[in-house]
């Protein structure tokens, strides 16, 4: 075990997979010599050479399109899209190409690409560098959406994503590149499409996504001091969804709070709430609570962004609501 930041754990995952598999390569805008805007790929070009780690023009459709083409023809591209907001520019290649080619072929051909990108508000980067783009792809069969929360999961899930035969959008919370945590030494993976119980509890189930897992856990700690025992489930892969552990948890606690960073309305939390309302309705002792952002673009001003971003207090209030407090 070592104590690594999220940034380091991603960097290690990339290094190990580049080392392990010749077909893996890494490219994007300024990822090579510079090491990426967030320095996540620092040192990798030096170590693996210009043929394995390289820069590209400022053209996201080239990134998306060539990644699909490369993945269809025997390699395993890992491409960095500098901000998740830019996924809108590659939406065609992701939605209409990457997600559909396994279905479109008849010979088992698949599209083993990974799009690494970041998301999330909280650093006053404004409305075009802070969005949480999960919902844009939540209704796209064939895509996998992965949003890890801990350094351990970042590393293990990224390694699994690179080995996975399906196209994966790997979402990194840009506010948490510095978050530290225990990471095993050596080449473990964390399986995609498996949710994880990050905290066991009896009273209320909180399903939290990506960066909001930390927030949910902090809220749970505070509530524990009052004797409220919160269970926190981290789906990790949100599409497709490992639903059963969520249902099981709700059948136990009879209460559900869903937390994500995107706007509540139309966000992925609606899907989770709807699933539970179908599968476990009569187990619910309280209305489902959703915690998310208001239905506005991400505002810039310090106080507005703070009001925008869901926080511990919001989670605590929602948990209390489910308890009728």
């Amino acid at each position: 075990m070592s104590e690594l930041t999220v940034r380091e754990s991603i960097n290690q995952a990339l290094a190990e997979e580049l080392e392990r598999d010749e077909r893996v390569f890494l490219y994007g805008e300024d990822v090579a010599d510079y090491g990426g805007l967030y320095q996540v790929t620092a040192g990798l070009q030096e170590r693996f050479g210009e043929e394995r780690v390289f820069d590209t023009p400022l053209s996201e459709t080239t990134l998306g399109g060539t990644a699909v083409g490369a993945a269809l023809t025997g390699t395993r591209p890992v491409v960095e899209i500098m901000f998740g907001d830019f996924l809108a520019i590659v939406a065609d290649h992701l939605t209409n190409y990457a997600a559909k080619m396994h279905f479109n072929y008849g010979d088992g051909t698949s599209v083993p690409l990974v799009v690494r990108t970041n998301y999330g508000a909280g650093d006053q980067f404004g409305l075009h560098h802070s969005q949480s783009p999960i919902a844009w792809f939540q209704n796209v069969p064939g895509i996998k959406l992965v949003a890890p929360s801990t350094p351990h999961d970042y590393k293990g899930l990224l390694k699994a994503a690179i080995r996975d035969d399906d196209p994966v959008i790997f979402l990194e919370n840009k506010l948490r590149y510095e978050t530290e945590g225990e990471v095993p030494n050596g080449g473990y993976t964390v399986p995609l499409c498996r949710s994880d119980r990050k905290r066991e509890g009896e009273d209320v189930t909180v399903v939290a996504i990506g960066g909001m897992v930390d927030v949910a856990l902090a809220a749970a700690d505070r509530l524990a001091t009052e004797g409220i025992d919160v269970e926190v489930i981290d789906p990790r892969t949100v599409v497709p969804l490992d639903k059963e552990p969520i249902f099981d948890s709700v059948r136990k606690t009879h209460r559900l709070v869903v937390v994500h960073e995107a706007a509540t309305f139309g966000g992925f939390g609606g899907e989770i709430a709807a699933e539970v309302a179908e599968e476990a309705l009569f187990h619910l002792d309280a209305p489902i609570e959703r915690v998310g952002a208001p239905f506005t673009p991400v505002p810039f001003a310090e106080n507005l962004e703070e009001a925008y971003l869901p926080d511990e207090d919001d989670v605590i209030a929602a948990v209390r609501n489910t308890l009728g407090e």
């Binding site: 399109g65 065609d92 290649h93 209409n96 479109n104 008849g106 069969p141």
Partner: protein, 328 residues
């Protein structure tokens, strides 16, 4: 590329197969109907045939929605026709239409219905060749209309910047659906003017398969030698409307002018003139191709529809139920 007599008869057979196949599609569509709406390439055969003929069998091909010849040259006829009928033996068990088919074994890159979105995908195949250190060339076909998409610029630029082994083939048939290309492309004369990019480009007579072969072979050689991409603009014409639901509105005289330079006729006449084939051979070839096409349609019409499970091939690496839930 040396074109022996035997090879040239093969080229002719491919031209004729493409022609007869599409005529049969048209006939089937006009009588009983065919589930896949035909977007016929009749008149344009020499582009696909010539370019494919100039390539190695494992060179990647990324067809446009109209490129029919390479598919017919690489995929068994039954499978192609079944693809149009959406039956079980089609290239994707009926999941998708035939003109989007992909086959890794036949080095055909599956495409989408988004005209031009495949250009960067073809460049990605070139990237794979470089990464894997093989010498497979990637050839992408696209219409004149596709040159007005951003993909055209970004794909050319990236291929040229990285010297990737890509051949870009514009199937310039002068029309993008119902709009003449001259009306929507800001060039003086030829679409290759768009490409101020640092790469070789030329205009090719797309009605003459020999010209197409020569130009493509040269481009492929350059690509294989590590000297990067080439842009070829093949001037051609479709005899039919954009798709079979659309009424013909083009000038009759324009159509006739192009029919006078029919790619199948040009090649047949040349083979006859050079004494490579005689009338008897031509008749036999036609009869045998017609019979093959007929048999393939017969096959497809009797081929059963796919089972419902065929639809649930969405992920390669995990089992998912119809409601997006992971099956443990």
């Amino acid at each position: 590329m040396e074109l022996t007599d035997e090879r040239r008869t093969e080229v002719y057979e491919s031209l004729l197969l493409t022609r007869r196949f599409e005529e049969a599609v048209l006939e089937a569509y006009e009588s009983g109907g065919v589930p896949e709406l035909p977007h016929l390439s009749i008149g344009q055969e020499a582009v696909g045939v010539g370019a494919t003929y100039a390539l190695e069998e494992d060179d990647w091909i990324a067809p446009s929605l109209r490129t029919r010849a390479p598919i017919l040259m690489r995929v068994p006829l039954e499978e192609v026709v079944a693809g149009m009928y959406g039956t079980r033996s089609g290239p994707s068990e009926g999941r998708t239409t035939q003109h989007h088919m992909g086959s890794t074994e036949r080095a055909i890159l599956g495409t989408t219905g988004m005209v031009g979105s495949h250009l960067n995908v073809a460049v990605g195949a070139g990237l794979s060749s470089r990464q894997l250190g093989n010498d497979r060339v990637s050839t992408v076909f696209f219409g004149d209309g596709a040159t007005t998409r951003g993909e055209f610029h970004t794909a050319l630029n990236y291929a040229a910047v990285e010297d990737l082994p890509v051949v870009f083939v514009i199937e310039n048939n002068g029309w993008t659906e119902e709009t003449p290309i001259g009306q929507v492309a800001a060039v003086e004369e030829d679409l290759i003017e768009f490409a101020g990019h640092d790469l070789p480009s030329s205009v090719v007579d797309g009605q003459d398969a020999d010209e197409v072969i020569a130009a493509t072979a040269e481009a492929a050689e350059r690509a294989r030698a590590g000297d990067g991409p080439t842009l070829l603009e093949m001037k051609t014409y479709r005899y039919r409307p954009h798709a079979e639901v659309i009424p013909e509105r083009r000038d009759e005289a324009e159509i006739e002018r192009w029919k006078a330079r029919d790619p199948v006729t040009i090649y047949r006449d040349r083979l006859l003139e050079e004494g490579i084939v005689d009338e008897g051979w031509l008749e036999d070839a036609d009869a045998s191709i017609r019979a093959d096409v007929e048999a393939a349609f017969q096959f497809a019409r009797e081929d059963p529809l796919p089972p419902e499970e065929a639809m649930y091939q969405v992920y390669a690496d995990v089992e998912v139920d119809r409601d997006g839930g992971v099956v443990r």
